[in-house]
Amino acid sequence: MKPSLILFSLLTLGLLVWGFRQAMFVAPTEATMGDIQRIFYYHVPSAFAAFACFFVNLVASLAYLKTRSPRADALALASAQVGVVFCTIVLITGPLWARPVWGIWWTWDARLTSTLLLWLIYVSYLLLRRFSYAGAMPVLAAVLAIFGSVDTVFVYMSIRWFRTQHPQPVLAGGPGSGLAPEMLHAFFINLIAFSAFGALLVWVRYLLERQQQRVEELHAHAAVGGAR
């Protein structure tokens, strides 16, 4: 294992531990919502990590179409998988928070539905990667990533414009507004910690995928009968 990877893992662990202490013990309890509000310190950073991963996936997919480099493809896969995991966390922690606080599990407002659609698009991306024939898979996946990214713009607009006849609960006016300074402090630490954690996961998954690619290449060479 590279020393930089070990160092980064330790750094990430430290940040996560610090973030946990801040979120659970140091940050004050919210006046109206109580302790359940502490999910916020995990919910929003996870969303940020998920969106960052999907953005990395888009860039890697474009890079793959341009260069056809297997490294770009490995990065695209790693970021998509980690992104889906974080997105799942967002979609689970959100309702867990909403139900006791606002009495509803779910609502079709722009942000929630966009996140759900993003999750669906990327799960279909992963399924496409799983079910395609090996030669075509990276190209098809890269093309789908582009379609998905173009689509997210339309998704957000369409939900805002065409779903507003239902009554919308006021979602606290955006979680960043009106936060006490200690809460903001805990929030930013967790944001950095989760971003580091996401980056670490993507890095490790990328390294694994590159290993896998090299193994497959060696198998292919051996099958053809060449010894390089």
């Binding site: 496409l128 079910f131 395609s132 024939y133 093309v143 582009i146 607009m157 414009w161």
Partner: protein, 225 residues
């Protein structure tokens, strides 16, 4: 450019001729859509007011599912006798194949809608309160939105193990914004409570953007091996 037009026309003519002679896709599609109408009629027993509110969703769901049958079929035809490989080896522009297929599918699905939409009106005793003439651009734009993405993803699904299953898995999430707009516009037209112009404009923009993206990326997908 003239090469593009002529090959598109030739591909379209071939598909229309094949479909006319065999009626593979249209028969299956028509009967499926009819079944969907009947099942929805059994499942929901709406009052006149409720019917106007839900018809948008019912109609477009029915057409979405029925059109996936046509879309799967259209590319399966190209795999027999290695027709697709022949096309790939030829100097013909890839977009001509894509446009020919898309326009062919568009025509089939429009015919389907022309037959099935009156059935919805009959079974649900629909009476539109808004401007019904706007239904025509709505159906044209909405069908193109489904068909252009559907043809593209059907071409992608050719290279997967679970060919027929992959198309809906890829198509449905990407089509959600268009579906919202189509359903919104249909509801607006039937209930007469709001203007369908915003959803229609949205659909037009969606169609233009995704047709462009599909045309830009089709060649990559065709040669993806």
């Amino acid at each position: 450019m003239s090469g593009l037009f002529h090959i598109t026309r030739a591909t379209l003519a071939k598909d229309l001729r094949l479909e006319w002679r065999s009626k593979d896709a249209t028969n299956g599609m028509l009967f499926f859509a009819l079944l969907v109408v009947v099942i929805f009629s059994f499942a929901f027993e709406p009052t006149a007011e409720e019917a106007r509110r839900i018809i948008g969703g019912l109609v477009w769901m029915a057409f979405l599912f029925a059109s996936t049958m046509a879309l799967n079929q259209s590319w399966a035809r190209e795999l027999r006798n290695q027709v697709l490989d022949g096309f790939r080896c030829s100097p013909a522009p890839a977009n001509a194949l894509f446009l020919g297929k898309t326009i062919g599918n568009f025509i089939f699905v429009c015919l389907l809608e022309a037959v099935v939409a009156p059935l919805f009106v009959v079974f649900f005793n629909l009476h539109a309160l808004g401007d019904t003439l706007l239904l025509i651009p709505l159906f044209l734009l909405g069908t193109w939105a489904l068909v252009v993405n559907g043809t593209f993803f059907a071409a992608m699904s050719l290279r997967t193990r679970t060919r027929e299953l992959m198309l809906p898995l890829l198509l449905f999430p990407i089509s959600v914004p268009a579906l919202l707009a189509m359903v919104g516009a249909t509801t607006a037209i039937f209930t007469g409570e709001s203007s369908p112009s915003l959803p229609l404009k949205f659909l037009a923009v969606y169609d233009i953007v995704f047709t462009t993206v599909s045309l830009l990326l089709f060649e990559t997908v065709l040669h993806a091996e």
